[in-house]
Amino acid sequence: MKMAMTAGQLAAMQMVFGYGVCFFMGLTCATILWLIWTGKIDLSSLLSETNGDASMSRFQLLIFTFVVAVCLFLLTVQNGQFPFISTGILTLLGISASTYAAGKAISYSRDEGVTTSDERSDMRQTAQAISNTGAATMVDSAGTASSGSEVPVAPPVPVAPVP
């Protein structure tokens, strides 16, 4: 036996689901903003490279993407349909993203891009300390540390792992 829904019932269902979606979207947006505000979603390193410094390529990508996203939203709402995105805007978005990718690739290809100055200083001091003992390499449970002098004076001695 088929159950036919009346127009009124369909309209009521549409309204209920519509307001349900609105409630869900509103709750999601409010939750995200609240989590960002309280720091649970940590954005402090959003613009940082691996070494902790701010990245210009990330900054320009963030700014330009945000501007295009806001404009896209406003135009969609105003016109009731997805707006036509000109070739110029797409080209600029592509340049922005490519600059970010290139900057990231270059950063990861050198020590200064992935380590802080403190870490590099620690590594130099470790290498110097090993060199002062006259050992060529130092082996511990984590692997081989950086080498000291070229000519080994004593065979490598296993070092107990530091707790």
Partner: protein, 119 residues
Amino acid sequence: MVLFLQTKVMHMSVAKLLYWEMLGFLVGLVCLLAWRMLTGQMALRGLLMRKDGRGQRVSPERVPLLLATLGLSGYVLVQVFEGGLRSFPDVGWQWVAVFGGSSGLYAGVKALTTLRRKV
């Protein structure tokens, strides 16, 4: 107050309600990010500085990229609003050249600096 809001909400269409929610989210997100940047909670240290480990010096190729980004973003926003929120502006080849040139300069100098240090 709650009854007043409930009445207001019930008279709003679903589309209008979604519009205000999305707008509120976008505005809230932009304001949060801007607040974090201005109060130093989001790291902007060294944004314009050289990253070659030879001390803190302003990097000349980063300044044009920053200015081009801010200028282009402002231009797009102004054109969209001046056009009555009808369509995206038709960005001329001059803006593409300026932005592309400053980005290319930034990436090129960064790559050159890296190659020099490797050699």
